[in-house]
């Protein structure tokens, strides 16, 4: 009985936390959409990122058993900031969360250079002003969430809007 009671408690707690998180995410998104312009946030993110690219996931490596998330090879179609072209390698995710992208997915990534600990992947995702990861799927020219840990308020915005903001920040 205690086991079931504990399970029910966890489910209830999960629902409450989920509701709170969703409310915060909604409020955050609304603020981004209606308050601080997304272009300002994109410009700010671009200033802090080492590399901003549009591209497609070409290869995927799992490091889940050692808490290392996934490694990706991204075929770059457009470099919004930086000099990287061709293919860049990215490590994303870890002990507490994952960024699970499918091979072939089109993505917009704000990236930072990694350090020497992980020679297989040179870049890792950058964080936005609200401490969310700046990793987005691109569908029909618009951004979509790629992970629950993604920066709130960017979904639905157009790539061209971000492109202009990044260009203005250079």
């Amino acid at each position: 009985m205690q086991r079931f009671a504990s399970a029910r408690y966890r489910v209830a707690l999960g629902i409450v936390l989920f509701t709170v998180v969703q409310s915060v995410a909604f409020a955050s998104g609304a603020r981004a959409a209606g308050g601080e312009a997304i272009s300002d946030r994109a410009a700010d993110a671009a200033e802090r990122a080492d590399l901003v690219v549009l591209g497609r996931v070409a290869a995927k490596r799992s490091y889940l058993p050692v808490d290392g998330g996934f490694g990706y090879d991204i075929v770059v179609s457009e470099t919004l900031k930086g000099t990287e072209s061709g293919t860049c390698s990215v490590r994303a995710g870890g002990w507490a969360y994952k960024v699970d992208l499918s091979i072939g997915a089109e993505v917009l990534l704000f990236l930072e250079e990694s350090d020497a600990f992980l020679p297989a992947e040179r870049f890792k995702p950058a964080y936005g002003s609200e401490r969310g990861l700046l990793v987005f799927l691109v569908r029909a020219g618009r951004l979509a969430a790629a992970t629950r840990e993604g920066e709130a308020g960017w979904a639905g915005r157009s790539v061209s809007e971000v492109r202009e903001a990044v260009a203005a920040a250079k």
Binding site: R3, S6, A7, R10, L17, V20, V21, V24, K60, R61, S62, Y63, L64, P65, V66, D67, G68, G71, G93, G94, W95, A96, Y97, K98, S114, D115, A116, F117, L118, P119, A120, K124, R131
Partner: protein, 423 residues
């Protein structure tokens, strides 16, 4: 599922000292003789808890008292096993390093899952700064920095000595935890999702089994599965695959699960304070030809609670890994019934390795473990791990003395201590 676990997973074997990279000796493959010998490598695993190398501006600065408390907590976690922890870099000998405040990662990251702990020089990095303070997180208190750093440090060290996230799932016999869920396995795990003690165990993580940051900041300890594997590192029976084909039931290679004296590391939960009876064996094998299958036989008794695992893709020392499939077959040649399915698995929930979790043998007799690759052209090396788990029955009117003697002989070097008593 295709093999995902790629090469290049290892952390660079370098440590940064005052901005310089000081190369550490690369690990060469251990001699085959050692891998194929009976008995696992048994020596004290020395671990340097490095709070100095990666300290940057803006990160929590661990006080001397906090460092000491973290060392003592991790020492207590591993107290039933042969480990030695130090806050200063060892001057000589092999040692593993846990580097704290690494700015590369949030949480932790281990060099490898080193089943049987054959490499005593691997490394891990830990950083809890983003997990404490802020909305929805545990408070950034000194106590929480100590407890969460201890948990993730012990977790990553667990990987370095062969523990997997699966090992957080407990109690044994209740299947897997609700997360990652039955669908994360291929085919879907057919058993129960009753392992609801996972979150309190050291080898849990939010990503793997849905534990929380508050769990990590709590009073965590090693599960039964972890205790089995840690004990196996020190005194387990390791066999080499026999030469020649053993791909039919009549030609199967006989293996014996040997008794293992496993201490009870459970602080709270169904099995706290109980005694374990464990038998285990590991086999190092190779799928050397297209469509080859390796079959091993063992004796089982009705009701035996068995776990099997083929480790290849997640084992860093194996350069030519396979995407394994494991099946348990009865003496009639049929795959054994396994809850709502059959005892066969292609992929566990994190890699292309295969596992049979909590199989209860339906009858007394001879059983067979079949290992093969998923693809007909896939060849390579693997290690098979199997164990039988039983609780020592509660003593009745008869046998109290004999059971006490049995328990004394087979388990427990020291009583468990709650972490909270250390602080």
């Amino acid at each position: 599922m295709g093999r995902l676990f790629g090469e290049g997973a290892r952390l660079s074997r370098a440590i940064f000292v005052c901005g310089r990279v000081v190369a550490r000796p690369a690990l060469s493959l251990l001699p085959a003789l050692l891998l194929l010998s009976a008995g696992s490598a048994s020596a004290v695993q020395t671990v340097w808890l490095d709070f100095i190398t990666d300290q940057d501006v803006g990160e929590h600065v661990y006080t001397a008292a906090e460092q000491t408390s973290i060392r003592d907590t991790i020492t207590a976690d591993f107290s039933d096993f042969d480990f030695s922890f130090t806050l200063t870099a060892p001057g000589s000998g092999d040692y593993s390093t846990l580097t704290f405040n690494s700015d590369f990662i949030t949480g932790g990251l281990a060099d490898a899952v080193d089943f049987r702990n054959l490499d005593h020089t691997d490394n891990a990095i830990i950083n809890v700064n983003d997990f404490l303070g802020g909305f929805g997180n545990p408070a950034a208190t000194s106590a929480n920095f100590v407890s969460m750093t201890s948990t993730i440090g012990a977790h990553e060290l667990g990987h370095l000595v062969g523990l997997r996230h699966l090992d957080s799932m407990g109690p044994i016999g209740l299947g897997i935890s609700p997360a990652p869920g039955v669908g994360a396995f291929t085919p879907a795990y057919p058993g129960p999702t009753g392992a609801d003690e996972a979150a309190g165990h050291i080898m849990a993580s939010p990503l793997a089994v849905g534990s929380s940051l508050f769990d990590a900041a709590g009073d965590t300890f090693f599960s039964e599965r972890s205790a089995i594997r840690l004990t196996f590192n020190e005194s387990g029976s390791v066999l080499a695959e026999a030469g020649g084909a053993h791909d039919t039931l009549p030609t199967a290679q006989a293996i014996t699960l040997a008794a293992l004296s496993v201490p009870n590391t459970i602080v709270t939960g169904d099995n706290a304070g109980k005694s374990f009876l464990v038998d285990a064996v590991a086999v190092t094998g190779t799928i050397g030809a297209f469509s080859e299958k390796d079959i091993y036989s063992f004796s089982g008794t009705v009701g035996d609670l068995m776990n099997f695992e083929v480790i290849s893709a997640a084992l860093d020392r194996i350069g030519n890994s396979i995407d394994s499939v494991i099946s348990i077959i009865d003496s009639g040649g049929s795959t054994v019934a396994y809850y709502t399915g059959l005892a066969s698995n292609d992929d566990e929930f994190e890699s292309s390795d295969s596992m049979i979790i909590d199989l209860t043998l339906p009858a007394t007799g001879t059983y067979y473990v079949q290992v093969n690759a998923n693809g007909i052209t896939d060849t390579g090396d693997y290690e098979l791990f199997a164990h039988r788990f039983k609780l020592v029955p509660e003593p009745g009117t008869f046998g109290f003395l004999s059971l006490s003697l049995l328990a004394a002989l087979r388990m427990s070097r020291s009583p468990r201590r709650s972490r909270s008593r250390l602080r």
